[in-house]
Structures are given as C-alpha cells and as structure tokens.
C-alpha cells in the first residue's frame, strides 16, 4: 500500500549550481558534491603570502604530484562535514559504551598484569605518534590543493586527535595520570621509542604535502595500524585483555574505513600518469624502511621472537595493498 501526499509542484529554473552542473550536468546534486567541488578558489589572488612569496595562496606547485583535475581525488565515503561528524558520533557512542562498561565494572582491574603493562608500554606512547598524524594532516588541509583532498585531510587530522585522546583514556583507565607521564618519558628518552620519534619528527618538516600524505597516511598508518590493532589486539584478546580490545574498537574500525579512502587517493593519483606512479612508489619505498625500523623495537616488545614474522606479514600485506593501488614497491 502506498499513499501519495500532494504538494504544490514548482518547476525549478535549475537543479544545482553552475560549477557543479559543468561537471555533472544540470541534475540534482548530492550534498557531498555541492559542499566539495570547486569551492576552493583557484584563479585570482590578491597578494602573495608573506610566508612563501614565490607561491600563490593556493598553489598546485606545493607538491611534485601533478593532476589535471585535483577534484578527481574524491572521497569514496563522500564525507562532507555533516556526514563525517554524524558517522563519527555513532562510532563514538559505541566506543563510549565500551569505556563506560569498563570503568563502571572496573574491568581494567582484571586484566593480567603483563597484558596491562604491554598496553601501557606500547599503546599509550602511541598518542604522540597520533599527534604527529594530526599535524601532518592539518598541514595538508591548509596547503594542499582542491577541497576533494584538503577536506578529508582535516577530518583525518581531527580523527587522529580523537585516537590520541582514546589512547590517553586507555592510559587513565589502566594506570591513572601517572601512565601518561611514564609514556611521555619513554617517548622522549626510552630506547624503544627513539627510532619512532625520530621518524615522526622527520615527517614534521616535510614540505611536499602529498609526500606527507604518502609517508603518514599510507606508509606509517598502513604498517602501524595492522600491527597494533590487528596482531597485538589479537594477542590482548587471547590473553585476558578483551577490555583493551574494547577500548581500541574505534581505531580498528576507523583504520579499515580510512584505508579505503587513502587507497582511493593513491590509486587515482598513480593512474593519472607514469610520473605520478613512479613518484608515489619511490616515496613508499623511501618511507617504508624507516617506518619498519621504527616499528621493530615495538614489535620486539610486543611479539618477542615472533616479531620478525609479524612485521614480515604486515609488510607483505602492505605491499600487496600498494600493488593493488597501482604502485611498484
């Protein structure tokens, strides 16, 4: 059964804005389209930036990657602000109920000591790595080209902040505020973390925004997340640390979702030209080695004598992912 309400029907003059119609024809456009395509200014700028007088305010030359149309880098999730924030608030609701349950029932107390210590040693200092991810992605959002890529990078930056805050909460649940100080000390001084800190700091001084995208979003996240939220998380669950898995639920879901977005960007950029494909592949090769070197001490702490196997598996999955996106790594 169907009922039809009648409304006064008016024939519109046009279905969308001209800049959207020029791309997709004059038909009703999605909110993602109207909120994304061509809203960054491109043609006329009044003043050269004091901080980079040789460039325009928004300038294609801030990366070596070249695209005929930067709006080819669309987001398969079609995130505009509303879609992003509503999606994240749903995930946050789920995460919150996990934290609530753990805090209310004091499930943290029944985690075996060695599992708890593992989480404190590995997960909590990672919040600084996440903060580096925030910085890299906010850089891209500021200096990248075209809303299709700069917009999701800001969402990605905020997501990294959120992950850093979830990791902070894990520290607070497991060992109170002292855990954060210990993690910071380890990050600043501990031998296990120095290769990672050095790598993260090296990424903070990169100038080419697409290089940051590759080094951070593809390589670092592509290797660290599976190691931590797949392999290590499996170990936590298997050893009485299910409560920890509950608290990293957001990260596991989030990295699966965002990896699809990252892959879509790489795939389109690589398919654009052999030069792009070569450049992106070279960046992957360049950053894979120091990333693995930075993960190695963490893997040794986490997996003991299986560390080499885990990293090899993670690397081979990562390489397959890159190949699928059109890179030769």
């Amino acid at each position: 059964m169907q009922i039809d309400l009648r409304t006064v029907s008016i024939k519109p003059l046009r279905h969308t804005f001209d800049h959207i119609a020029r791309r997709f024809g004059d038909k009703p456009a999605s909110r993602y389209q109207e909120g994304t395509y061509d809203i960054q200014q491109t043609d006329i700028f009044h003043y050269r930036p004091l901080w980079e007088p040789e460039r325009k305010l928004f300038d294609k030359a801030r990366t070596q990657v070249e695209m005929k149309d930067w709006y080819d880098l669309k987001d398969p999730r079609q995130f505009y602000y509303g879609a992003w924030t509503i999606a994240r608030s749903r995930q946050q609701d789920a995460a919150e109920s996990c934290f609530d349950m753990i805090e209310d029932r004091q499930l943290g107390d029944i985690i075996p000591a060695e599992v708890r210590q593992m989480a404190l040693d590995i997960l909590v200092p990672m919040r600084h790595v996440e903060w580096g991810g925030n910085m890299g992605n906010s850089y891209i959002s500021a200096y990248g080209y075209g809303t299709a890529i700069t917009q999701p990078c800001l969402y990605h930056a905020m997501d990294h902040l959120a992950v850093a805050q979830y990791l902070t909460r894990i520290g607070l649940v497991l060992d109170g505020p002292a855990s954060l100080d210990k993690a910071k000390d380890a990050w600043m001084q501990g031998a296990m973390w120095q290769p990672m800190r050095q790598h993260v700091e090296n990424l903070l001084v990169l100038q080419d925004w697409f290089e940051i995208f590759v080094a951070q979003n593809l390589v670092l996240e592509g290797l660290a997340y599976p190691m931590l939220y797949d392999y290590l998380d499996g170990d936590f669950s298997a050893n009485g640390g299910t409560a920890i898995s509950m608290m990293t639920r957001f990260m596991a879901e989030w990295s699966t979702e965002t990896a699809k977005w990252v892959d879509a960007q790489i795939k389109v950029a690589a398919a654009e030209s052999p030069e792009n494909a070569a450049l992106l592949s070279a960046w992957v090769r360049q950053y894979r080695a120091p990333t693995l070197a930075a993960l190695a001490p963490l893997a040794a702490r986490a997996f003991g004598d299986k560390a080499g196997d885990v990293l090899a598996e993670v690397t081979s999955q990562f390489n397959a992912r890159c190949a699928k996106a059109g890179l030769s790594v």
């Binding site: 409304t7 003059l13 960054q40 003043y47 509303g82 924030t85 749903r90 946050q92 700069t150 959120a162």
Partner: protein, 517 residues
C-alpha cells in the same frame, strides 16, 4: 599494582590538559624552528606557550556528540524547507537579494577561514591554540557547507546564486570581501588571529553574522535562520578564541603591544569597510527591517566594542584612531553604498531598486540628520525617472580604493557632498585610497597592496573578457563582454528588481501556492 591513582576522578581542566597539552613535545631530532617555521617571522614574542588559557575545553568525543546533534536537526529543517517550498514564505522577493549577497560574498570566506585556521592549527608551537584553531577550522568548513546547502534551494528557483565561486574571484564588489580574507591568509599566523580570530570573529561578528541571520528571521527565511541558530554556539567558541589569543600575545611580552596595536588598527578599519555592504543590506535590502545600520553600529560597536576596548586598555591597547571617523560615517555609508549599487545595477549579480515612500519615511526617521538632507531628493529623482521609463544606469566604471577595493563613494570628513580621495606614491607610481584609514594601511605595507587585483583596472587592461574576445571588432560591447566573463545571465541576474524574472516567478509561484486560479 597500585590502582589508587586511576580511581580518583579527574577534574575537567586536568582531564582536558591530559587530552591535549600532554600530546605535544619539544622536538630534538628536528629543530623546533624547522617544525614551526612560521612562529617568529612576524616579530611576536612568545616565551611560554603553557600560559595559554584554553578558551573552551572540548575533546573530540564531546565535539562529535554536540555537532552531530546540531547537524541532524539542521538538515531535517533544510529537507522540510525544500520539500514544502519554504522559499515562498519569505516576506517579498526583494529579500532574496540579501541572501545572494551572503552566498556570493560571505560563504566562500567561511571556506577560506577553514583553510586559514587549518594553517594556524598547524603553525603555532603551542598545543592549546593549535587544537582550538583546528576546531575552528572544521567549524568553518561546516559553515561554508551548511550555507551552501541551505541556499541551494534558492538557487534552484532564483537568479544570482548560480555561480558563486566563479563570481567571488571576479566580480568587482566581491573583491572587497575576497581581498579581506586573502590579505589575512597571506599574512602570518599571528596577524591571521588578529584579523580573523579577533577583529572579524570577535569585534565584527555581531555586525555581520547577526544582521544577516536576524534579517532572515524577520523576513521568513527559515533555511538561513536555522543555519544561523545552528552556528551560534560555534560562533561563541570562535569569539572566545579570538579574545584569548589577543590577551595571550599581550601578556607574553611588552614588545608585542605595538605590533598588536598596529594590526588592530588595520583590521578594525578593513572590517568596517567590508561592513559597508552589510549596512546597505540592512537599510535597503530587507523588506522587513531589523534595525537601522546606525542603530546596529551604536549597540554592537560603540557600546559592546567600547566595553571590549576598556577591557583591553589595561594591556595598553588604545581604541583605533580611525574609528572616530565612524561616528560620522554611520549616518552616511549605507545610503552612499546603495546609491552606488543602484547606479551600477547593470553590473551587480543582484537586483537593486529605490525605496518606496514608506521605506523612505523609515529612513528619514532612522537618519534624521542626513537622509532627507543629502539623499532623499536624489533617490526620489531616480525613482521618478525609473517610473517614466528612464531607469538610470551608469555605463562608466568607478575608481576603486587600492586597499579596501570599494569604489570611491565615501565622502570627506566634515563634508558629505565631496568624495574623499587620498593619494600615495610608491616606486614612482600613484595609488589611490578612499580614506585616511585605507591610506594609512597602504603606506604601512605598500609592497603588499600594490599587488591588489583591482577589478576596474583589470577590465581596462582587457583582462576581463572571455577568451577569444576581439575588443577591436565593430560594435564591441565591453560591458556585455565583462558580464559574460563574470558568468552573469545578463538581464536576469542584474538590473532593477522591477521587471525581473525573480519578481515575476515569485509572484506567480506564490499565487499557485495560495490561490486556486
């Protein structure tokens, strides 16, 4: 295993500090000045970023929760508005022209604000201000998008909305707001915070955002006003950030005072010039008026702004000198601007008209010192001529101010019958400005302002015709070619409201919606 520490509930401030401040660190494998290369070149000295007081304490989980709730409500209203032909509920189709001005002149700036705050959110060495700036950056992309989405339905039915980004970069009066934001973003992160975070968001929001949104509420525009209410709590956060930022700079080092004072002077005047367009909108474009520009200026600037400057006086900040001029200008600028747009109505992407008798009486009552004395006779004359079929359009181009880019339409202090011109010389060339305030800004940074892309100059240089145009061809119509390059639907987007397609369609559609014939 000592679990006592974790059982103690953390206070909000303490918890927030762990969630943000604690994330940052002093880099050692790379020098801090390479990680934050924009932190010092403007001359602002910061000794201790930890002294930053967080103006609001939102962690991402709370942010998503509040914002998602607002987004759900907002889009539900926008859907209902579109489904039920909400556009027919506005007071009068003339109102739409205020919305066109907003979409073409303001919404794209929300976008630039988003990019600029992303840059600030990367460039400050302090974690506290970075997180606050990033929250504002993501709010600003929200505002750009929700405005585009809210006004998308108007675009489907009315003219002048259809190519806003293309127009922003080209159309003569839109270079006024555009150059304002280009100016701020091309400066360093600290000046950006004074320009946008403080001057625009704190001092001027009540004169820009509030009049447009109140205008929407008064004129039955449910789409825009719903957006406005939804953005209100974001704006409140942005205001506190701007204020905290200026106090922080002033507290960190006494050497910062002259730099900050210079920026306040500059950006107050830059902002006030942009507000000319808002004044005109309030006094002339709203069929149902909220208050006069002069009243808004007195309440929001003279009273509220006065209190703010009293508060800042303890740091040594003085009220910008150029503001004395505003006491006189508030009686004039809206009339002068509307007179200009009326004459250049052939080249504006919205409709213009002369006020009717009742509206002129309202203007006389609101502007007892000036409207009848200086403007009413001219406006009545134009209206009489239009009724006789001689609607006046000027076919020349106005001279623009090198700084604010507004046509030279403002008058001399003390003589509202004489156009004000100022002239500076730089590297052997003459540059013209509209006021002492703009001349002062030019003279301080001539190397920046000589770069301005002045629409009128560009037209005369032949840079504003569609590709392949031959200006030497017989019968070449330069104005038509420029409008073509602007992507105007000539005859539909521009000209007088009387006789416009908007006027006809609105009357017809409202008839369909309210009558049975």
């Amino acid at each position: 295993m000592d679990m006592k520490a974790s059982k103690k509930k953390l206070g909000l401030k303490e918890k927030y500090a762990h969630m943000t401040r604690g994330l940052g660190w002093e880099t050692s494998y790379q020098p801090m000045d390479k990680v934050f290369p924009q932190a010092t070149f403007e001359g602002i000295k910061i000794h201790d970023w930890d002294k930053w007081e967080d103006p609001f304490r939102l962690t991402m989980d709370a942010y998503w929760k509040y914002q998602a709730e607002k987004e759900r409500k907002l889009y539900a209203v926008l859907d209902a508005f579109a489904q039920n032909n909400g556009h027919l509920g506005i007071t009068d189709a003339r109102y739409l022209n205020a919305v066109k001005l907003f979409l073409t002149g303001i919404s794209p700036l929300e976008y630039v604000a988003h990019r600029g705050f992303a840059a600030a959110g990367r460039n400050f060495p302090g974690v506290g201000p970075r997180v606050a700036c990033l929250m504002q950056s993501v709010d600003e992309v929200r505002h750009a998008q929700t405005q585009i989405h809210a006004l998308s339905n108007y675009n489907k039915h009315y003219d002048g909305f259809h190519d806003f980004k293309h127009m922003l970069e080209r159309v003569w009066y839109l270079s006024v707001p555009k150059s304002f934001f280009d100016d701020a973003f091309s400066a360093g992160p600290f000046e950006w915070m004074i320009a946008i975070g403080f001057s625009f968001e704190y001092v001027l929001t009540n004169l820009l955002f509030v009049p447009f949104m109140s205008g929407a509420a008064y004129n039955g525009d449910m789409a825009t006003v719903t957006f406005g209410f939804s953005a209100q709590s974001d704006e409140a956060r942005h205001m506190t950030l701007g204020l905290e930022c200026i106090k922080f700079m002033l507290e960190q080092d006494p050497d910062n005072l002259p730099i900050v004072q210079k920026w306040i002077d500059k950006w107050a005047w830059r902002g006030i010039r942009v507000l000319t367009l808002v004044g005109m909108m309030m006094d002339y474009m709203l069929p149902k008026r909220v208050m006069s520009w002069k009243e808004a200026w007195e309440i929001y600037f003279e009273q509220n702004g006065g209190a703010l400057f009293n508060d800042l006086a303890k740091y040594g900040i003085k009220v910008p000198e150029c503001l004395t001029q505003c006491t006189e200008d508030k009686e004039h600028v809206s009339h002068q601007a509307w007179a200009t747009f009326y004459q250049y109505g052939g080249a504006a992407a919205f409709h213009t008209w002369m006020p009717n008798d009742e509206e002129m009486d309202w203007l006389s009552a609101k502007y007892p010192n000036t409207f009848d004395k200086y403007y009413r006779a001219r406006f009545t004359h134009w209206r009489d001529e239009a009724e006789k079929g001689n609607r006046f359009y000027t076919n020349t181009l106005p001279m623009l101010c090198q700084v604010c880019q507004i046509p030279m339409l403002f008058t001399e202090p003390g003589d509202p019958t004489k156009i004000c011109y100022r002239e500076s010389e730089y590297q052997g060339e003459k540059y013209h400005t509209c006021s002492d305030g703009c001349k002062h800004i030019f003279d301080d940074e001539p190397e920046k302002y000589i770069q301005a892309w002045l629409p009128v100059h560009q037209i005369y240089q032949g840079n504003c015709f569609p590709e392949g145009t031959d200006p030497t061809a017989e019968g070449f119509d330069p104005l038509a070619a420029v409008l073509d390059w602007y992507h105007f639907n000539n005859g539909k987007d521009n000209m007088d409201f009387e006789g416009s397609r908007d006027q006809a369609n609105f009357a017809m559609w409202r008839g369909m919606a309210t009558k049975n014939t």
